[in-house]
Protein backbone atom coordinates (compact mmCIF):
# COMPACT_ATOMS: atom_id res chain seq x y z
CA UNK A 1 0.00 0.00 0.00
CA UNK A 2 1.45 3.34 -1.09
CA UNK A 3 0.38 6.41 0.80
CA UNK A 4 1.04 9.78 -0.79
CA UNK A 5 0.59 13.01 1.10
CA UNK A 6 0.63 16.33 -0.70
CA UNK A 7 1.74 19.09 1.63
CA UNK A 8 4.53 19.97 4.03
CA UNK A 9 2.77 21.46 6.96
CA UNK A 10 1.00 20.40 10.11
CA UNK A 11 -1.91 18.74 8.32
CA UNK A 12 0.47 16.51 6.43
CA UNK A 13 2.43 15.78 9.59
CA UNK A 14 -0.58 14.78 11.64
CA UNK A 15 -1.99 12.75 8.72
CA UNK A 16 1.31 10.94 8.43
CA UNK A 17 1.43 10.28 12.15
CA UNK A 18 -2.09 8.84 12.11
CA UNK A 19 -1.22 6.50 9.24
CA UNK A 20 1.91 5.47 11.10
CA UNK A 21 -0.09 4.63 14.23
CA UNK A 22 -2.34 2.26 12.30
CA UNK A 23 0.31 0.94 9.89
CA UNK A 24 3.76 1.22 11.44
CA UNK A 25 5.43 -0.17 8.33
CA UNK A 26 3.42 1.79 5.75
CA UNK A 27 5.18 3.18 2.66
CA UNK A 28 4.53 6.91 2.86
CA UNK A 29 5.66 9.58 0.38
CA UNK A 30 5.32 13.21 1.34
CA UNK A 31 5.40 15.74 -1.49
CA UNK A 32 6.28 19.20 -0.21
CA UNK A 33 7.20 22.18 -2.31
CA UNK A 34 8.87 24.32 0.32
CA UNK A 35 12.67 24.07 0.60
CA UNK A 36 12.33 23.45 4.34
CA UNK A 37 8.92 22.03 5.24
CA UNK A 38 7.42 21.11 8.61
CA UNK A 39 7.76 24.16 10.75
CA UNK A 40 5.36 26.09 12.97
CA UNK A 41 3.90 28.44 10.40
CA UNK A 42 2.23 30.83 12.90
CA UNK A 43 5.69 31.70 14.21
CA UNK A 44 6.90 33.19 10.94
CA UNK A 45 6.44 36.79 12.08
CA UNK A 46 8.83 36.02 14.95
CA UNK A 47 11.59 35.40 12.42
CA UNK A 48 11.45 39.00 11.24
CA UNK A 49 12.88 40.50 14.43
CA UNK A 50 15.03 37.51 15.27
CA UNK A 51 13.04 36.57 18.37
CA UNK A 52 13.00 33.10 16.82
CA UNK A 53 15.48 31.56 14.41
CA UNK A 54 14.48 29.23 11.59
CA UNK A 55 15.80 26.28 13.59
CA UNK A 56 13.71 27.25 16.56
CA UNK A 57 10.46 27.03 14.64
CA UNK A 58 11.02 23.64 13.04
CA UNK A 59 8.84 20.78 14.23
CA UNK A 60 10.45 19.09 17.21
CA UNK A 61 9.57 15.74 15.64
CA UNK A 62 10.19 15.74 11.92
CA UNK A 63 7.40 13.56 10.46
CA UNK A 64 9.50 11.89 7.79
CA UNK A 65 12.28 10.98 10.17
CA UNK A 66 10.66 7.58 10.78
CA UNK A 67 11.06 4.39 8.80
CA UNK A 68 9.77 4.02 5.25
CA UNK A 69 8.71 7.62 4.84
CA UNK A 70 10.17 9.63 2.03
CA UNK A 71 10.16 13.38 1.64
CA UNK A 72 9.98 14.48 -2.01
CA UNK A 73 10.81 18.10 -2.76
CA UNK A 74 8.39 18.83 -5.57
CA UNK A 75 5.01 20.29 -6.29
CA UNK A 76 1.90 18.38 -7.19
CA UNK A 77 0.44 19.96 -10.32
CA UNK A 78 -2.29 17.51 -11.27
CA UNK A 79 -4.07 14.35 -10.18
CA UNK A 80 -5.19 11.44 -12.31
CA UNK A 81 -7.62 9.41 -10.22
CA UNK A 82 -8.14 6.84 -12.94
CA UNK A 83 -4.47 5.89 -13.15
CA UNK A 84 -4.01 6.65 -9.46
CA UNK A 85 -1.00 8.83 -10.07
CA UNK A 86 -0.16 12.44 -9.34
CA UNK A 87 1.87 14.60 -11.65
CA UNK A 88 4.73 16.64 -10.29
CA UNK A 89 6.19 19.96 -11.42
CA UNK A 90 9.46 18.18 -12.18
CA UNK A 91 7.61 16.12 -14.76
CA UNK A 92 7.74 12.97 -12.73
CA UNK A 93 4.70 10.96 -11.77
CA UNK A 94 4.00 9.32 -8.48
CA UNK A 95 1.64 6.41 -8.01
CA UNK A 96 -0.60 6.15 -4.96
CA UNK A 97 -3.05 3.74 -3.39
CA UNK A 98 -4.31 6.35 -0.96
CA UNK A 99 -3.81 10.05 -1.41
CA UNK A 100 -4.07 12.83 1.18
CA UNK A 101 -4.45 16.39 -0.05
CA UNK A 102 -2.95 18.64 2.60
CA UNK A 103 -1.61 21.49 0.49
CA UNK A 104 -3.07 24.20 2.71
CA UNK A 105 -3.64 27.73 1.55
CA UNK A 106 -1.92 30.37 -0.52
CA UNK A 107 -1.80 34.07 0.22
CA UNK A 108 -4.18 36.31 -1.65
CA UNK A 109 -2.46 39.01 -3.71
CA UNK A 110 -4.81 41.93 -3.53
CA UNK A 111 -5.65 43.59 -6.84
CA UNK A 112 -3.48 41.54 -9.09
CA UNK A 113 -2.98 44.55 -11.35
CA UNK A 114 -2.16 47.07 -8.65
CA UNK A 115 0.58 49.46 -9.72
CA UNK A 116 3.90 48.66 -8.11
CA UNK A 117 2.94 45.22 -6.92
CA UNK A 118 5.95 43.64 -8.58
CA UNK A 119 8.48 46.13 -7.31
CA UNK A 120 11.27 45.35 -4.86
CA UNK A 121 10.23 45.53 -1.25
CA UNK A 122 6.76 44.11 -1.73
CA UNK A 123 6.24 40.77 -0.01
CA UNK A 124 3.69 38.33 1.21
CA UNK A 125 4.37 36.51 4.47
CA UNK A 126 3.18 32.95 4.33
CA UNK A 127 6.27 30.80 4.35
CA UNK A 128 9.60 30.49 6.04
CA UNK A 129 11.15 31.44 2.76
CA UNK A 130 9.13 34.67 2.67
CA UNK A 131 10.33 35.52 6.15
CA UNK A 132 13.98 34.94 5.28
CA UNK A 133 13.68 37.14 2.23
CA UNK A 134 12.05 39.94 4.20
CA UNK A 135 14.69 39.70 6.90
CA UNK A 136 17.41 40.01 4.30
CA UNK A 137 15.70 43.08 2.86
CA UNK A 138 15.16 44.73 6.27
CA UNK A 139 18.53 46.54 6.60
CA UNK A 140 17.54 48.87 3.77
CA UNK A 141 14.20 49.76 5.37
CA UNK A 142 13.09 52.46 7.79
CA UNK A 143 9.37 52.43 7.13
CA UNK A 144 6.85 49.70 6.50
CA UNK A 145 3.24 49.36 5.48
CA UNK A 146 1.22 46.26 6.24
CA UNK A 147 -1.75 45.88 3.99
CA UNK A 148 -4.35 44.03 6.05
CA UNK A 149 -5.14 44.35 9.75
CA UNK A 150 -5.76 40.69 10.42
CA UNK A 151 -3.81 38.55 12.82
CA UNK A 152 -0.81 38.00 10.53
CA UNK A 153 -0.72 41.69 9.67
CA UNK A 154 -0.75 42.77 13.30
CA UNK A 155 1.84 40.20 14.43
CA UNK A 156 4.04 41.28 11.54
CA UNK A 157 3.59 44.93 12.45
CA UNK A 158 4.66 44.22 16.01
CA UNK A 159 7.76 42.33 14.86
CA UNK A 160 8.77 45.13 12.49
CA UNK A 161 8.16 47.71 15.20
CA UNK A 162 10.53 45.77 17.44
CA UNK A 163 13.32 46.03 14.88
CA UNK A 164 12.81 49.78 14.77
CA UNK A 165 10.72 50.39 11.70
CA UNK A 166 8.00 53.01 11.54
CA UNK A 167 5.03 50.78 10.82
CA UNK A 168 1.58 51.54 9.45
CA UNK A 169 -1.20 48.96 9.30
CA UNK A 170 -3.87 49.62 6.69
CA UNK A 171 -7.20 47.85 7.02
CA UNK A 172 -10.17 48.25 4.72
CA UNK A 173 -12.77 47.34 7.33
CA UNK A 174 -13.88 49.76 10.05
CA UNK A 175 -11.85 47.76 12.56
CA UNK A 176 -8.68 45.73 12.73
CA UNK A 177 -8.92 41.98 13.39
CA UNK A 178 -12.38 41.83 11.76
CA UNK A 179 -12.45 38.04 11.97
CA UNK A 180 -11.15 37.77 15.55
CA UNK A 181 -12.66 40.64 17.45
CA UNK A 182 -15.64 42.92 17.81
CA UNK A 183 -15.44 46.68 17.51
CA UNK A 184 -14.79 47.23 21.22
CA UNK A 185 -11.91 44.80 21.41
CA UNK A 186 -10.47 46.00 18.13
CA UNK A 187 -10.51 49.58 19.39
CA UNK A 188 -8.78 48.60 22.65
CA UNK A 189 -6.08 46.73 20.79
CA UNK A 190 -5.66 49.49 18.23
CA UNK A 191 -5.17 51.95 21.07
CA UNK A 192 -2.50 49.71 22.57
CA UNK A 193 -0.77 49.39 19.20
CA UNK A 194 -0.80 53.13 18.75
CA UNK A 195 0.83 53.50 22.18
CA UNK A 196 3.61 51.33 20.83
CA UNK A 197 3.93 53.73 17.90
CA UNK A 198 2.29 51.45 15.36
CA UNK A 199 0.14 53.57 13.10
CA UNK A 200 -3.26 51.93 12.52
CA UNK A 201 -5.50 53.12 9.69
CA UNK A 202 -8.95 51.58 9.30
CA UNK A 203 -11.50 52.10 6.51
CA UNK A 204 -8.55 52.74 4.25
CA UNK A 205 -7.39 50.96 1.12
CA UNK A 206 -4.15 51.10 -0.79
CA UNK A 207 -4.61 52.41 -4.32
CA UNK A 208 -1.07 51.91 -5.53
CA UNK A 209 2.45 51.25 -4.43
CA UNK A 210 4.81 54.14 -5.09
CA UNK A 211 8.21 53.11 -6.36
CA UNK A 212 11.54 54.68 -7.02
CA UNK A 213 14.05 52.90 -9.21
CA UNK A 214 12.03 49.73 -8.96
CA UNK A 215 11.93 49.82 -5.18
CA UNK A 216 8.85 50.47 -3.12
CA UNK A 217 9.06 53.63 -1.07
CA UNK A 218 5.46 54.33 -0.17
CA UNK A 219 1.81 53.59 -0.72
CA UNK A 220 -0.86 55.83 -2.05
CA UNK A 221 -4.15 55.54 -0.16
CA UNK A 222 -7.51 55.40 -1.86
CA UNK A 223 -8.47 58.44 0.20
CA UNK A 224 -5.55 60.32 -1.32
CA UNK A 225 -2.88 60.33 1.34
CA UNK A 226 0.61 58.91 1.02
CA UNK A 227 2.29 56.68 3.58
CA UNK A 228 6.05 56.16 3.27
CA UNK A 229 7.04 52.51 3.04
CA UNK A 230 10.39 50.98 2.14
CA UNK A 231 8.70 47.67 2.83
CA UNK A 232 5.18 46.65 1.87
CA UNK A 233 3.73 43.41 3.19
CA UNK A 234 0.54 42.00 1.78
CA UNK A 235 -1.40 40.35 4.57
CA UNK A 236 -4.93 40.33 3.26
CA UNK A 237 -5.59 36.65 3.76
CA UNK A 238 -5.27 33.17 2.42
CA UNK A 239 -7.32 31.08 0.02
CA UNK A 240 -7.45 27.31 -0.45
CA UNK A 241 -4.62 25.92 -2.55
CA UNK A 242 -6.83 24.00 -4.96
CA UNK A 243 -5.84 25.16 -8.42
CA UNK A 244 -4.07 21.85 -9.12
CA UNK A 245 -7.31 19.91 -8.58
CA UNK A 246 -9.10 21.44 -11.59
CA UNK A 247 -9.04 18.38 -13.79
CA UNK A 248 -9.18 15.75 -11.10
CA UNK A 249 -12.95 15.58 -10.78
CA UNK A 250 -12.73 16.20 -7.05
CA UNK A 251 -15.73 18.19 -5.94
CA UNK A 252 -14.81 21.71 -4.84
CA UNK A 253 -17.03 24.39 -3.35
CA UNK A 254 -14.62 27.22 -2.28
CA UNK A 255 -12.77 24.42 -0.59
CA UNK A 256 -12.55 20.70 -1.11
CA UNK A 257 -15.77 18.97 -0.13
CA UNK A 258 -15.21 16.05 2.24
CA UNK A 259 -17.40 13.67 4.20
CA UNK A 260 -17.07 13.31 7.95
CA UNK A 261 -14.19 10.88 7.50
CA UNK A 262 -12.34 13.42 5.35
CA UNK A 263 -12.84 11.58 2.09
CA UNK A 264 -13.31 13.65 -1.05
CA UNK A 265 -15.86 12.88 -3.75
CA UNK A 266 -13.23 10.67 -5.40
CA UNK A 267 -12.41 7.24 -3.94
CA UNK A 268 -9.05 6.85 -2.16
CA UNK A 269 -8.48 10.58 -2.11
CA UNK A 270 -8.76 12.37 1.21
CA UNK A 271 -8.32 15.99 2.09
CA UNK A 272 -7.65 17.87 5.30
CA UNK A 273 -6.51 21.20 6.68
CA UNK A 274 -6.89 24.67 5.26
CA UNK A 275 -8.13 23.53 1.86
CA UNK A 276 -11.32 21.81 2.95
CA UNK A 277 -14.79 23.20 3.34
CA UNK A 278 -16.73 22.27 6.44
CA UNK A 279 -19.83 23.29 8.40
CA UNK A 280 -19.12 25.82 11.12
CA UNK A 281 -20.68 24.71 14.40
CA UNK A 282 -21.43 28.19 15.58
CA UNK A 283 -23.15 29.49 12.46
CA UNK A 284 -24.29 26.27 10.82
CA UNK A 285 -22.87 27.60 7.57
CA UNK A 286 -20.25 26.36 5.12
CA UNK A 287 -16.86 27.62 6.11
CA UNK A 288 -13.11 27.48 5.53
CA UNK A 289 -10.45 28.06 8.11
CA UNK A 290 -6.74 28.38 8.56
CA UNK A 291 -6.89 27.29 12.17
CA UNK A 292 -3.98 25.28 13.44
CA UNK A 293 -6.00 22.91 15.58
CA UNK A 294 -8.44 22.22 12.74
CA UNK A 295 -5.47 21.25 10.60
CA UNK A 296 -4.13 18.95 13.31
CA UNK A 297 -7.49 17.29 13.90
CA UNK A 298 -8.62 16.90 10.27
CA UNK A 299 -5.16 15.67 9.25
CA UNK A 300 -5.33 13.07 11.95
CA UNK A 301 -8.85 11.94 11.03
CA UNK A 302 -7.89 11.70 7.35
CA UNK A 303 -4.76 9.70 8.11
CA UNK A 304 -6.73 7.38 10.35
CA UNK A 305 -9.48 6.86 7.79
CA UNK A 306 -6.96 6.18 5.01
CA UNK A 307 -5.21 3.51 6.97
CA UNK A 308 -8.22 1.50 8.05
CA UNK A 309 -9.07 3.17 11.31
CA UNK A 310 -12.33 4.66 12.37
CA UNK A 311 -12.34 8.31 13.15
CA UNK A 312 -14.69 11.21 12.53
CA UNK A 313 -14.22 14.86 11.91
CA UNK A 314 -14.60 16.68 15.23
CA UNK A 315 -16.99 19.62 15.48
CA UNK A 316 -15.19 22.58 13.95
CA UNK A 317 -15.28 26.33 14.12
CA UNK A 318 -13.90 28.72 11.56
CA UNK A 319 -13.14 31.26 14.25
CA UNK A 320 -11.27 30.10 17.32
CA UNK A 321 -8.16 32.09 17.94
CA UNK A 322 -5.84 32.94 20.74
CA UNK A 323 -2.99 35.36 20.76
CA UNK A 324 -1.44 38.19 22.65
CA UNK A 325 -1.16 41.61 21.05
CA UNK A 326 0.64 44.52 22.62
CA UNK A 327 0.61 42.71 25.96
CA UNK A 328 -3.11 41.95 25.88
CA UNK A 329 -4.17 38.33 25.56
CA UNK A 330 -7.23 37.73 23.46
CA UNK A 331 -9.22 34.57 22.81
CA UNK A 332 -12.27 34.57 20.57
CA UNK A 333 -14.41 31.82 19.13
CA UNK A 334 -17.56 31.31 17.13
CA UNK A 335 -19.83 34.13 16.21
CA UNK A 336 -18.40 37.55 17.03
CA UNK A 337 -20.54 40.04 15.19
CA UNK A 338 -24.29 39.89 15.61
CA UNK A 339 -27.06 42.09 14.42
CA UNK A 340 -29.95 39.68 14.62
CA UNK A 341 -32.39 39.56 17.54
CA UNK A 342 -31.96 35.82 17.50
CA UNK A 343 -28.91 36.21 19.74
CA UNK A 344 -28.54 37.39 23.31
CA UNK A 345 -25.31 39.25 23.94
CA UNK A 346 -23.68 39.73 27.33
CA UNK A 347 -20.63 41.89 27.90
CA UNK A 348 -18.62 42.94 30.90
CA UNK A 349 -15.66 45.30 30.93
CA UNK A 350 -13.11 46.14 33.57
CA UNK A 351 -10.61 48.67 32.30
CA UNK A 352 -9.16 47.18 29.15
CA UNK A 353 -10.33 43.74 30.18
CA UNK A 354 -13.45 42.64 28.42
CA UNK A 355 -15.61 39.59 28.07
CA UNK A 356 -18.43 38.91 25.70
CA UNK A 357 -20.74 35.92 25.40
CA UNK A 358 -23.24 35.40 22.61
CA UNK A 359 -26.07 32.95 23.09
CA UNK A 360 -28.54 31.41 20.69
CA UNK A 361 -31.29 30.31 23.06
CA UNK A 362 -29.48 28.18 25.63
CA UNK A 363 -26.44 27.50 23.49
CA UNK A 364 -23.27 29.52 23.60
CA UNK A 365 -22.35 30.43 20.02
CA UNK A 366 -19.71 33.11 20.40
CA UNK A 367 -17.24 34.55 22.85
CA UNK A 368 -14.46 37.06 23.19
CA UNK A 369 -12.15 37.25 26.19
CA UNK A 370 -9.71 40.15 26.28
CA UNK A 371 -7.14 40.75 29.01
CA UNK A 372 -8.21 37.84 31.20
CA UNK A 373 -8.40 34.64 29.18
CA UNK A 374 -8.53 32.22 32.09
CA UNK A 375 -10.62 29.09 31.57
CA UNK A 376 -11.45 30.16 28.01
CA UNK A 377 -11.25 26.56 26.80
CA UNK A 378 -14.25 25.59 28.90
CA UNK A 379 -16.35 28.00 26.84
CA UNK A 380 -14.82 27.41 23.41
CA UNK A 381 -15.77 23.79 23.96
CA UNK A 382 -19.33 24.70 24.83
CA UNK A 383 -19.49 26.49 21.47
CA UNK A 384 -17.73 23.84 19.45
CA UNK A 385 -19.86 21.01 20.82
CA UNK A 386 -23.11 22.98 20.70
CA UNK A 387 -23.91 22.08 24.29
CA UNK A 388 -27.45 22.99 25.29
CA UNK A 389 -27.03 24.63 28.66
CA UNK A 390 -30.61 24.68 29.86
CA UNK A 391 -30.75 26.33 33.26
CA UNK A 392 -26.97 26.30 33.51
CA UNK A 393 -26.89 29.18 31.07
CA UNK A 394 -27.15 31.78 33.82
CA UNK A 395 -24.43 30.04 35.81
CA UNK A 396 -22.14 30.23 32.81
CA UNK A 397 -22.83 33.93 32.37
CA UNK A 398 -22.24 34.59 36.04
CA UNK A 399 -19.01 32.58 36.07
CA UNK A 400 -17.62 34.37 33.07
CA UNK A 401 -18.69 37.84 33.97
CA UNK A 402 -17.87 37.90 37.69
CA UNK A 403 -14.49 36.28 37.50
CA UNK A 404 -12.59 38.83 35.43
CA UNK A 405 -9.25 39.30 37.10
Amino acid sequence: MKYVIVGGSVTAASGQAAIRRNRPEADIRVVADEPVPFYYRPLIPYLLDGSKTADEILFTDQPTAGTRAELIHDRCVRINPKKKVIGLQSGKELAYDKLLLAAGGIPIMLLQNMVGLDSKGVFTLRSLDDAIKIREYLPTCRTAVIIGGGLVGIKTAEALMRVGLAVTVIEQQPQILPLRADLTVAATIAARLKKQNINVLTKEAVAEIITQKGRANGVCLASGGIVPADLVIMAVGVRANIDFLLESGIKVDHGVVVNNRMRTSVPDIYAAGDLIRFIDQATGEKAMSGLWSNAVHTGSVAGCSMSGGRSEMPPMLSVMNSTEIAGLPIISAGLLHTQSDQYAVYTEAQGEKYRKLIFDQDRLVGMIFLGDVSRAGVYTNLIRNRIPLGDRRDTVIREVMTKIR
Binding site: Y40, R41, P42, L43, Y46, K52, E56, I57, L58, F59, T60, W292, S293, V296, H297, M320, N321, S322, T323, E324, P329, I331, A333, V373, S374, R375, A376, G377, V378, T380, N381
Partner: protein, 160 residues
Protein backbone atom coordinates in the same frame (compact mmCIF):
# COMPACT_ATOMS: atom_id res chain seq x y z
CA UNK B 1 0.08 4.19 32.80
CA UNK B 2 -0.55 6.23 35.90
CA UNK B 3 -2.91 9.13 36.25
CA UNK B 4 -4.17 11.54 38.84
CA UNK B 5 -7.51 10.56 40.22
CA UNK B 6 -9.75 12.75 42.33
CA UNK B 7 -12.25 10.94 44.51
CA UNK B 8 -14.61 13.84 44.87
CA UNK B 9 -16.59 12.54 47.84
CA UNK B 10 -13.40 12.80 49.89
CA UNK B 11 -12.49 16.36 48.92
CA UNK B 12 -13.03 18.85 51.74
CA UNK B 13 -12.05 21.87 49.69
CA UNK B 14 -9.07 22.73 51.86
CA UNK B 15 -6.97 23.75 48.88
CA UNK B 16 -3.86 22.12 50.33
CA UNK B 17 -3.21 20.71 46.86
CA UNK B 18 -3.25 24.17 45.34
CA UNK B 19 -0.73 25.42 47.89
CA UNK B 20 1.47 22.34 47.53
CA UNK B 21 1.38 22.81 43.76
CA UNK B 22 2.53 26.39 44.01
CA UNK B 23 5.27 25.50 46.47
CA UNK B 24 6.54 22.73 44.20
CA UNK B 25 6.65 25.22 41.35
CA UNK B 26 8.30 27.98 43.36
CA UNK B 27 11.94 28.97 43.34
CA UNK B 28 12.95 27.45 46.66
CA UNK B 29 10.14 24.95 47.05
CA UNK B 30 9.18 26.17 50.47
CA UNK B 31 6.03 27.91 51.62
CA UNK B 32 7.56 30.82 53.42
CA UNK B 33 9.80 31.85 50.55
CA UNK B 34 7.09 31.08 48.00
CA UNK B 35 4.70 33.62 49.50
CA UNK B 36 7.40 36.24 49.41
CA UNK B 37 8.42 35.67 45.80
CA UNK B 38 7.99 38.88 43.81
CA UNK B 39 6.05 36.96 41.20
CA UNK B 40 4.16 34.33 43.17
CA UNK B 41 4.25 30.84 41.70
CA UNK B 42 1.17 29.70 39.80
CA UNK B 43 -1.02 26.76 40.68
CA UNK B 44 -1.82 24.11 38.12
CA UNK B 45 -4.96 22.67 39.63
CA UNK B 46 -8.08 24.34 40.86
CA UNK B 47 -10.35 23.37 43.70
CA UNK B 48 -13.87 24.19 42.70
CA UNK B 49 -17.30 23.70 44.13
CA UNK B 50 -20.42 22.58 42.31
CA UNK B 51 -23.39 22.54 44.63
CA UNK B 52 -22.34 20.46 47.62
CA UNK B 53 -19.50 18.84 45.78
CA UNK B 54 -15.97 20.09 46.14
CA UNK B 55 -13.45 18.91 43.66
CA UNK B 56 -9.93 19.55 42.48
CA UNK B 57 -10.11 20.21 38.76
CA UNK B 58 -6.90 19.02 37.22
CA UNK B 59 -5.14 18.21 33.99
CA UNK B 60 -6.06 14.80 32.60
CA UNK B 61 -3.13 14.63 30.21
CA UNK B 62 -5.80 13.65 27.68
CA UNK B 63 -5.15 11.11 24.96
CA UNK B 64 -6.51 13.45 22.31
CA UNK B 65 -4.86 16.39 24.12
CA UNK B 66 -6.56 19.49 22.72
CA UNK B 67 -3.84 21.64 24.28
CA UNK B 68 -1.09 19.88 22.35
CA UNK B 69 -3.13 20.00 19.15
CA UNK B 70 -3.57 23.74 19.61
CA UNK B 71 0.06 24.48 20.45
CA UNK B 72 1.49 26.45 17.53
CA UNK B 73 5.08 26.44 18.73
CA UNK B 74 6.00 22.88 19.60
CA UNK B 75 6.21 23.82 23.25
CA UNK B 76 3.79 21.19 24.54
CA UNK B 77 4.88 17.59 24.27
CA UNK B 78 4.15 14.28 25.92
CA UNK B 79 6.98 12.94 28.03
CA UNK B 80 7.89 9.32 28.69
CA UNK B 81 5.44 9.15 31.60
CA UNK B 82 2.60 10.17 29.29
CA UNK B 83 2.54 13.59 30.90
CA UNK B 84 1.99 16.65 28.73
CA UNK B 85 4.76 19.10 29.48
CA UNK B 86 6.05 22.44 28.32
CA UNK B 87 9.33 23.25 26.64
CA UNK B 88 9.91 26.65 28.19
CA UNK B 89 12.07 27.97 25.39
CA UNK B 90 9.42 27.24 22.80
CA UNK B 91 6.43 28.82 24.56
CA UNK B 92 5.66 32.31 23.28
CA UNK B 93 2.59 32.96 25.40
CA UNK B 94 -0.02 32.76 22.64
CA UNK B 95 -2.44 31.02 25.04
CA UNK B 96 -3.76 28.65 22.37
CA UNK B 97 -3.64 25.86 24.94
CA UNK B 98 -5.81 27.90 27.29
CA UNK B 99 -8.25 28.35 24.43
CA UNK B 100 -8.33 24.63 23.76
CA UNK B 101 -8.43 23.01 27.20
CA UNK B 102 -12.01 22.02 27.97
CA UNK B 103 -11.21 21.66 31.66
CA UNK B 104 -9.84 25.17 32.02
CA UNK B 105 -6.69 23.92 33.73
CA UNK B 106 -4.06 25.70 31.70
CA UNK B 107 -3.23 29.07 33.21
CA UNK B 108 -1.41 32.14 32.03
CA UNK B 109 1.67 33.29 33.87
CA UNK B 110 1.74 36.88 32.71
CA UNK B 111 5.02 37.58 34.49
CA UNK B 112 7.00 34.78 32.93
CA UNK B 113 4.88 34.95 29.80
CA UNK B 114 4.44 31.21 29.84
CA UNK B 115 1.44 28.93 29.75
CA UNK B 116 1.29 27.02 33.00
CA UNK B 117 -0.10 23.52 33.32
CA UNK B 118 0.29 20.37 35.36
CA UNK B 119 3.65 18.73 34.74
CA UNK B 120 2.92 16.07 37.34
CA UNK B 121 5.97 17.18 39.33
CA UNK B 122 8.85 15.69 37.32
CA UNK B 123 11.19 16.01 40.32
CA UNK B 124 8.98 13.93 42.55
CA UNK B 125 7.84 10.36 42.67
CA UNK B 126 4.45 11.35 44.08
CA UNK B 127 3.09 14.66 42.80
CA UNK B 128 2.98 17.44 45.40
CA UNK B 129 -0.81 17.74 45.23
CA UNK B 130 -1.27 14.05 45.95
CA UNK B 131 1.23 14.12 48.78
CA UNK B 132 -0.52 17.14 50.29
CA UNK B 133 -4.05 15.81 50.25
CA UNK B 134 -5.03 15.25 53.89
CA UNK B 135 -8.03 13.07 53.01
CA UNK B 136 -6.41 11.12 50.18
CA UNK B 137 -9.03 12.45 47.79
CA UNK B 138 -6.25 12.94 45.27
CA UNK B 139 -4.34 9.86 44.29
CA UNK B 140 -1.85 8.79 41.69
CA UNK B 141 -3.30 5.56 40.42
CA UNK B 142 -2.66 2.91 37.88
CA UNK B 143 -5.42 2.61 35.31
CA UNK B 144 -5.75 -1.15 35.86
CA UNK B 145 -5.67 -0.81 39.62
CA UNK B 146 -8.47 1.72 39.54
CA UNK B 147 -10.80 -0.39 37.44
CA UNK B 148 -10.14 -3.36 39.72
CA UNK B 149 -10.97 -1.17 42.69
CA UNK B 150 -14.14 0.02 41.00
CA UNK B 151 -15.21 -3.54 40.29
CA UNK B 152 -14.75 -4.49 43.91
CA UNK B 153 -16.71 -1.48 45.08
CA UNK B 154 -19.49 -2.47 42.72
CA UNK B 155 -19.51 -6.07 43.95
CA UNK B 156 -19.66 -4.95 47.57
CA UNK B 157 -22.56 -2.68 46.76
CA UNK B 158 -24.39 -5.57 45.12
CA UNK B 159 -23.91 -7.75 48.19
CA UNK B 160 -25.51 -5.17 50.43
Amino acid sequence: MQFLYAQTDRCLGCRSCEIACRIEHSEEKNLFSAVSQIHPPKKRLFVEQQGDRKEPVLCHHCDDSPCMAACITGSLYRDERGVIRRRDERCIGCWSCIMACPFGVVARDANLHLAVKCDRCPDREIPACVASCPTKALRLVDADMLSEERRQEYMLREEK
